[in-house]
Every structure is written in structure tokens, then in C-alpha cells.
Amino acid sequence: MSEHEYVPKSKAAKWFNDRLPLLTLGAHLTDYPTPKNLNYWWTFGGILTFCLITQIVTGIVLAMHYVAHADLAFASVEHIMRDVNYGWLIRYIHSNGASMFFLAVYIHIFRSLFYGSYKSPREVIWIIGLMIYLLMMAAAFMGYVLPWGQMSFWGATVITNLFSAIPLVGDSITTWLWGAYSVDNPTLNRFFSLHYLIPFLILGLVVLHIWALHVPGNNNPVGIDIKKPSKDTVPFHPYITIKDAFALLVFMIIFAGFVFFTPNVLGHSDNYIPANPLVTPAHIVPEWYLLPFYAILRSVPDKLGGVILMFSAIFILFVLPWLDTSKVRSAVFRPIYRQFFWILVIDVLMLGYVGAMPAEGIYLVLARVGTIYYFLHFIVVMPVVGYLEKTDPIPMSISEPVLTGGAEPSLARKVNDKV
């Protein structure tokens, strides 16, 4: 990838590198030409890598002490919290880590939406990213089941029951998923197995995600193609590594705030009640990061319809690169789309909020309006605005002077640093 071929200095290194070019890969990663105008929204890729590694490391340790059995799971979690050295710390990092992971991934996704990072030639990066996101949701859902509290059990019951909406074979599929005739010990066992597997699948996809990124190179706030390497780019190391490190540390301070001072605020108190198949909680709510989809699911009176709509809400993102008809990537130069982008952000936040509320009265109305708007945004707004919008003048390059009357190239950075 790099323009100049890397040659190891020592003979031994050259010998090895000729047989397995790991050093060439390392050189590529450090030299990787990166747009110099990347703002802090671009640091979430590194933050997400950190989140994944943190979840894997803490998860492996937790698995050494956790017992995946319906009668013992809850007690083994309390054993971790009370008797394992720093077990409370490891578990709280893991449980809050899931939330931090999703916080970061949502920012990462919305960054991509704002700056058009999903557009040609980066469609494959986008699609791999969505596959990672899907696996993350599966992993998080199954992980939430493992402590075998009330929300674990009833969340698992609600979500697995969705499959029973499939015509004809629905009930058989649900029984097959459960490994029993209800959510029970076999369900817990397989969820644990899959919960341990999925992060490594994610890790593999992350490698592909980064590989696919390194083919066209990073998008940037201005959204224009840049020559690589050029005076518009900086080598990844040390410029981007130090900036990512700074952003990661700020992120870690927030993370530590949750872990040490309000470790349970993002969870549900009912999950400290052991699972009881005979007592249904008053409100069954998923973790906060799944709430917008939960709201979409419940906004449809028909079960099958709700399930289809919920899955469509995710799968519509896979065709986003082809729904967006605009030639301009960055919303900085798209005055109309930019408005709709923020409406979408508000819409998703609102869906998340009503997802936590009972599905009745005003909340149901809001959920329905929010759901309709969500789909309108992708199916109608994105193609139509792309055709009709008069975009602002785009600079020729990041560092070259701009067309007269155009936006400042550094505008994107300046404005967004405040956000």
C-alpha cells in the first residue's frame, strides 16, 4: 500500500519478512497516510477497538468464575462480586463496558452518516461495520441473559419469542432456539457458548473492516478524495496515534466514572432479583442501547409486522450507500441533508426514550410517528434530497485555497469540535 517499499534493516529481519511480511504490515500501519483534518469524531474507531479488547479480556476472566447453569448462574455472579479478587471491578468493567461500547459505536455510525463515509468507494467498510454492529447486539443480548436475573430471563423470553411470529415454522424454530419448551437451562448454556464465540467473530470482522478501510483510505470531514501521501495527509503514527490516545483517555475517564461511582445506573434493578419463570416483571425493558428497536417493534400492533419492521430498521442500513443519491459526501456541504440528519438523530433518541416507557397512550403515538419517520428518512429523504439539493461549493483539497465563496476547509473541524 505504501508508496515506498519497506526494507528491513537487519538481515534476520529481512529473512523473516521475506517469508512472512509482518514487518511490512507494521510499516504500512505506522506510515498509513491519514487525512490531517480528521476531527475527534474520527477517534471512535480506536476507542471501539479498545472497547472490544476490554470486553474480551474481562470476559475471559469472568468466564473462569462464572457457572452457566440456571440454578447456579446468579449465585456465581455474586461469588464473582464478593469472593473473587477484584471480581467486582472486572464485572463492572464488563457490564458498563458493553454500554460504553454501544455509546461509541452509535457515535461512530452517526459520524459515518454525517460525513457520508458509507458512500463509494467505502460501501464494503460500511457493510462489514453493520455486520459487526449486528453481532454486537447479539453478543450484548446474550451477555445480559447470563446473570440469570429477572430481566435476563424475561428479556430472553421476549426476544426469543419474536421468532415464533414466523408463519408455519415459528414455534418449531423457537423451541429449537431454546433447546427446551421455554427459556431454561439449555438456553442459558448455549447463550453462554455463543456469547463467548461472538466477540472473536467480531474481532475477525474488525480486521476486515480495517483492511477494507486501508484500501481507499479514510474519509475526512471535507469528504473529498485526497492524494495519498500528500501534504493533505499525515502518517498514522505518531499523529493519529497520539490524537486517538488523547481521545481514548477522555473516554476512559467517563468509563471509569461509571464503573467506580455509578456502576448500576445503566442496568435495571430487577436484574438483581434471581430469574423466576412464575413472576413477570411489571415492565420488561431491554438494555438502553436496544431501546430504539424495541420501540419500533412495539409500535406495530401485529407481532409479525413488528418483527419484520424491527429487522428492516437495521437491514435498511445495508443498502444505504445506494439509497443516498448525492454526489457530495460530507454533510458540511449539504445544507438540506444536514437538517434531516439532525432530525434523524432526534428521532432515534426519541424512539429510544419511548422504548423505555410503557407502550400506551402518548408513548405509542410517539413510537409510531418515530418509526414512520425513521423509514421515511432512508427511503424518501435520502434519495430525493440527493437529487434536489443544491450543495455548497466544495474545496479542491484540504490544504489548498477554497473556491471563492465556498466554505472554509477547516470549518468542518472547527464547527464540530464544539459539538
Partner: protein, 260 residues
């Protein structure tokens, strides 16, 4: 432009949040107590924990189990911190079933600090049957298992009232202002002077409710003091490192003509 969008975003979010009271109007909010374990550097009141344990042992423990706690926890740092002798004596005051022995027989012996708290009933079914069909919940993590936490537990303990006119209660059901649905199967067990505190503190209902709630808060989060202490150190460390990395970043980026 983006700025005004952010304003819009914040405004609409505030609007959403203001909708919340509509939903929870019928529930009475629990009493807010200024607990010593609140806040970033909060710690437990040692004397209150010891008194709370006494209330638990003499009152609550006749129905409620605390199966995830061991007697040794009572002597560990960050908890009631009873002395080693006291912990041994407390443990030994319970007859624990052990076995089977070499003859295959179960036997009882005095408790040891490593034993778990003895449960009042052999299983959930027995506890339920003995308490009018309502299982007295295990109290190990009760404070974490209730919305409102310590405030809620305390409020329920002091929230018994005569039912308002028009409300009729079945036998064995009591009226409580803070309980969801206002009906509770646990009778009001606390009355002034019920417990004779070893440290001479006057055992009013309010005092006992506060002490036992403090004890339960510790039982649910025995790591709380260590967590707070470690947290402060971790945050200070991270902030200092962040400053250093920030300055390094400024220096590195100053080599090229760009602002970070």
C-alpha cells in the same frame, strides 16, 4: 448552523424528559436520606453497620435469608469491621448443618466464620408457605434489586400507616405508603425500643430503619468503600495522563502546519 441544531436537539430531549412525571404520578417518591455512603467518597458509618447487623439478626433474620454473605464478611475492611473474636462468636452462635460425615449422616455444629449466613428456612417453598404465600426476599442484594435503593428500603420500613378510608385489606396484608400498590405482606416489625443497642444508642423506629438499611446497603455492595477509593485514584491518574498526552499531542502536531 450545527449549533442551532444542537440547541434543537437539547430542547426536544428536555421536552421528552419532562413527559416522565405523567407516567409515575401515582407512586409516592421514597424519602431522600443523606446517607454517609452516598457521593464520590462516601463510606459506611461503622457504628451504624454494627447496629444494623444487630437489627437484622434480631428482627429480619427470622424470615429473611442473606445467603450470599458469610460471617467472615462481618470482619472484613469496608464493612461492620467486627473484631476477629466477635466474628467467631457471632458465627458460633448459629448451629450449621454439615455433612455427610463418614457414616453418611448429616450433623450440626457451631458456625465458623467461613460459613454462609444461616437461612431461616430450608428453601423458598418453605419460606413462602410460612409467610402467608409471600416469599420474604433474600436480602443479600436487596438494595440493588429495588428502584430507589437504600431510600426505598428505608421508606418502606417507616412507611406503615392505617389504610385510608375506603381501602379494605385482607388478613395478613398491611398498608404501606411507599410500597408499589401500597399493599405489603410484611407486618410492621419495628417499634420503639425493640432492640437494645450494645452502644447505648436509643432504638427508635427511625434509628433502627436507618441502621438496618445501612447494613443492607453494605451487604449489597461490600466493595463500595474500596470502589470509591480506587475510583478517585484511577480518575486522578487518568486526568494527569490525559494532560500529558494532550501536551504531547500539541507538540507533535505543531510540527505540521495544522491545529488539532
Amino acid at each position: 448552523m450545527i449549533k442551532s441544531n444542537i440547541k434543537l436537539l437539547v430542547l426536544s430531549f428536555l421536552l421528552l424528559i419532562s413527559l416522565r412525571p405523567l407516567q409515575s404520578a401515582e407512586m409516592v417518591d421514597p424519602i431522600k436520606v443523606d446517607w454517609s455512603f452516598k457521593g464520590l467518597t462516601g463510606t459506611f458509618d461503622r457504628a451504624s453497620l454494627q447496629r444494623g447487623f444487630q437489627v437484622y439478626k434480631e428482627v429480619c433474620a427470622s424470615c429473611h435469608s442473606m445467603q450470599y454473605l458469610s460471617y467472615r464478611n462481618l470482619g472484613e475492611p469496608g464493612g461492620p469491621e467486627f473484631s476477629e473474636q466477635e466474628v467467631k462468636a457471632i458465627a458460633a452462635s448459629f448451629e450449621i448443618e454439615d455433612g455427610p460425615d463418614s457414616q453418611g449422616e448429616m450433623f450440626t455444629r457451631p458456625g465458623k466464620p467461613s460459613d454462609k449466613f444461616k437461612s431461616p428456612y430450608p428453601n423458598v417453598q418453605a419460606a413462602t408457605a410460612a409467610n402467608g404465600g409471600a416469599y420474604p426476599p433474600d436480602m443479600s442484594v436487596l438494595v440493588k434489586a429495588r428502584k430507589g435503593g437504600a431510600n426505598y428500603i428505608y421508606s418502606v420500613l417507616v412507611g406503615y400507616e392505617d389504610p385510608p378510608p375506603g381501602v379494605t385489606l385482607d388478613d395478613g396484608v398491611y398498608y404501606n405508603k411507599y410500597m408499589a400498590g401500597n399493599k405489603i405482606k410484611m407486618p410492621n416489625n419495628l417499634m420503639d425500643g425493640l432492640v437494645e443497642y450494645a452502644d447505648g444508642t436509643e432504638s427508635t423506629v427511625d434509628q433502627m430503619a436507618k441502621d438496618v438499611t445501612t447494613f443492607l446497603a453494605w451487604a449489597a455492595e461490600p466493595e463500595l468503600e474500596e470502589r470509591h477509593k480506587t475510583g478517585v485514584k484511577v480518575i486522578i491518574y487518568l486526568v494527569l495522563l490525559t494532560i500529558l498526552v494532550y501536551l504531547s499531542m500539541k507538540k507533535i502536531w505543531s510540527r505540521i502546519d495544522s491545529e488539532v
